[in-house]
Subunit: 198 residues, 4 copies
């Protein structure tokens, strides 16, 4: 019996992983990412978290994966979904929340991840699959609920405009990621949606 449980759970032998250590690392990574993305070195995370470098390398193959997990952890603890009424309101809220989130620490993390995905070509697919696509799918759902089913190419283009313009502001900083922006963006998406739906 125990055997089969073990087989299922693949319970490891030696000393189990210390969850406190994991948390300390992720929190430190998230903190350092906020204090200016360029300062994020594994060395510094290890020092600040009171952890050995080996421990970090044991669990995360690269800086990118570390920040990604830190971000996902942070996001789940931070973002609380709000109950939405109509599909239109749901889409509006989603865009607003996305823009609002990127204004803060999450924005710093995303910028760091973008940089990492460019520097470490091995990380780009991971970033794309585990973060970009996930956000796109959520947004795609809200979009199609609001404007109806869309041709895949057109859906892709709308998502590119949506996330693209947000990231563009995040990276360049020439214009704010404020509510006005979110509102205007929502309107633009609606215009495009109406055109495409017809």
């Amino acid at each position: 019996m125990a055997e089969s449980l073990e087989a299922l759970g693949s319970r490891p032998r030696g000393r189990p992983r210390d969850p406190q250590v994991r948390d300390r690392i992720l929190e430190t990574a998230m903190r350092l990412v906020q204090e200016g993305g360029r300062k994020l070195s594994i060395e510094k995370v290890a020092a600040d978290a009171g952890v050995s470098k080996q421990t970090i390398y044991r669990w995360w193959p690269s800086r990118g994966e570390l920040v990604l997990e830190a971000l996902l952890e942070f996001a789940t603890r931070t973002i609380v979904p709000r109950p939405d009424g109509s599909p239109e309101r749901a889409l509006t809220h989603l865009i607003e929340d996305t823009v609002a989130a990127l204004r803060g620490p999450i924005g710093d993390a995303v910028r760091s991840l973008l940089v990492e995905s460019q520097l470490d070509s091995g990380f780009l697919p991971t970033f794309r699959d585990r973060f970009v696509e996930a956000r796109r799918e959520v947004m795609a759902g809200a979009l199609e609920s609001s404007v109806g089913e869309l041709d895949p190419e057109r859906l892709t283009l709308m998502l590119d405009c949506l996330f693209g313009s947000i990231w563009y502001r995040l990276l360049v900083g020439h214009a704010p990621l404020d509510e006005r922006f979110a509102t205007d963006l929502t309107a633009a998406v609606a215009t495009l949606g109406a055109e495409y739906a017809s």
Copy 2:
């Protein structure tokens, strides 16, 4: 004659800068940027260009400024403006050319510059002023020629969608920067323009 030239030029003293050296550095930088952005170290540029590091640091304060100048130089030598007929065709061509350019070496350079602008916060304003804004103004001109004068906020948003979606594809690589994309993007912009102009 000479007098006025002297007055204008305020000719510098000492040995003049060697233009061949400058060109060799910029070409090497451009080449290395193509071979994978992360490999661009000043050390490597110097070695490959047969130049001392000091010479690079004398003229470019950071990696970002170096790549930026290399890109601008490359672009002026590479991109030939095509005579356009109607404003609509001009806009179409501009978007097509922008997308096409980012598919090649220029795209590699822009990715590198984006990374650099995030890692070196001192470089971000330079990048914004000397590259991003310049491209935006050109595009804004074509846009307003085509759809008529626009409210500044709306113009900004349209430019963000345009460049944002292009950069987004450049960075994430989830969808191609092909002609189809350029066409669809142009159509979307036209839709938004029509909405805004009314």
Copy 3:
């Protein structure tokens, strides 16, 4: 047993220092010092020893300390004390051995250390304490065994003449560091000793 050993050793944490690496560095330093003192750069020692610069800087704060340790190591492995009969013969042998040693690799190292102690004022005290004084004390012992106890000032002066004239020849190279020199020097010291003892 183990307890007391533990208490004494206060064993360090982390990966222990690799003695082979240490030896390779010191040997390389000694070799480079022989091939012409000016060529001794940390960079070159690192390259020739197949070691990273950081490893050298981890254990030796400066070129001087590195060469000093290399010399001390080399000397202990090279110099074999010879059993002496009378105090007079012991003194003779000591002077002869000192002169002979400075004729070879040890002389190159001492010259390098002298240079270093002048270029790096922080190293001078170390050099003085760990090398100069040590040699002086040995010589002082032999001297007083031979000629009897001496007034401190006079002892100092005799040692200065002794080592001074040897170093002077080592540095200037106007006259050889041969046995004749050692013999004459011994005689001169004896004359002074006789005068002072009276």
Copy 4:
């Protein structure tokens, strides 16, 4: 006529050398040598003297030659020979003056020259011929005037002890270059001289 005069005097053509520039360089070199020997770089001398590096390299082949000439210039302007009575007093004065001189700026220059002669093996012969030997000959003259003619080997040894012990204190700094030292040294030399003369 003029031709032949030119040929004879080998009067150079273009602009004659500016003696003020030469002086400014030598003074600056002497000043920098005093402020800590290690700081003497051609670069710094040029900057401090308001002179181009090329001008320095035109007249002095190496740092050593520059400092040597600066020292000789300084010494002639500084040291005033004192009329001496007996040969014994002359020797005493000479030793006293030598020790006293090395206590100040001249000592700094000599230390710098010693370092230079070790780092730049091409400079050692120059240093030996133009400085070391010159001083030795002066001292040898005073010595032989005082104690009578000496066997060359013995003379060499006495000079080595004399200059060696002074330089040794200059370099190591374990004991002062004061009058007491000069006196004791003179006495020691007298003792040796008496022994050798017999």
